[in-house]
Every structure is written in C-alpha cells, then in structure tokens.
Amino acid sequence: AQTVTQSQPEMSVQEAETVTLSCTYDTSENNYYLFWYKQPPSRQMILVIRQEAYKQQNATENRFSVNFQKAAKSFSLKISDSQLGDTAMYFCAFLFLSNTGKLIFGQGTTLQVKP
C-alpha cells in the first residue's frame, strides 16, 4: 500500500527565519504528483506547491520551495523568510496518476511561527 509519512508532528520557527518540513512516501509507481497543502486555523485547505515526479527541477512558489529526491522518495518543503501568516498545519499529499486521482495525505505537521 502507498503511504505518506510526515515524521514531525510539530515545529516552530522564528519570524523571518527558514524552516524545512519533511515528507517521505512509499510507492512502486513511477508517475505521480506531490503536493503541499496548508491548513490555517480557518480550516481552509490551501494548495501551496506542486511537483510532478517526471520533472527533475524542484518546484518554487515565492517563499516556498521543495527538495524532491525521487530515489529517496523524499519531498520536503522549505519556507523562507517565515511570516506569522505561515502558522498552520501543513500536509504532504501524493497523487497516483494510475488511481483516478486519489490523494493520499500524510498526518500533517503543525508549524508555529513565533514573533
């Protein structure tokens, strides 16, 4: 069975510093997408960034970037210049292209940005 693991239940970072959230996954698939979603206290699920497995280049969206290591099955999220509004739970998710778009989520990492 495919699984997604986020081994850091909680993390904290000082405002303006950089933090990295970890995610590993287990699959025999070769074609898939990976995502990071953010869930602030409002509970809304917000897409942060997306990575296609066939792309070697790591995805970047403003202050958010990923380190995608396909062989190691690792997909970490780096947040630069952390802001108070980044305080949220972050979920790593895996999309199997051979399985009608079923997203598999990790357990989540709660990130607190401290002033």
């Binding site: 509970r43 809304q44 699920m45 292209l97 778009g101 079923k102 997203l103």
Partner: protein
Amino acid sequence: DAGITQSPRHKVTETGTPVTLRCHQTENHRYMYWYRQDPGHGLRLIHYSYGVKDTDKGEVSDGYSVSRSKTEDFLLTLESATSSQTSVYFCAISPSGFNEQFFGPGTRLTVL
C-alpha cells in the same frame, strides 16, 4: 478561490439519525471527492465521483453513501450516524483525475 461551498458548515446530531452533507461547485469540474479529517490521520478519502451518477469508494467508505445527479452537486449521506463519524468533512473538486484538488471550507459534524 475555487467556487466550492459546503452545507451545513456545522451540525450536531444524535446517534442513529440520518445526515446528508452537500457539496456544490460552480467550476463545472468533472471530479468531486469527499474526505474526512481526524487528528493523527490527515485527510482520508470516503467516496469520489468522476461524473454524473459515476461514483466509487475510497479508503473509509463504510457507513457512507454518495449521490451525484448533477455536475455541480455531490451529496454525502450517513444513513445512521455513529459517534465514530464525528469529524470534519471536506469536499474537493478537480477538472480531471490528474490535477491538484481544490477544497471546500469543510463541515464539522458532531454525533452525540
């Protein structure tokens, strides 16, 4: 923001009663999904739909049924609610099965 609404946003009900949650989209996306979110589990797929009247089971489908009679609406029904179904329920939509999913605001359901 993707045009997705969920109703009701909060509901408290008693064990054994039927409950229906509604997801409505204005994006005309083909795929719709229902997830539940519980502490320590992330989000888990309950059921999904890949077109009108086309649905299939997800990871945690026991005790739930769904219906989709129109592209824009996807209903989740708990035939006889149990306390284990207390959760936050999210609807999501996607233009195809091979894209990111966009989520509704969630429904908090409490079964007493």
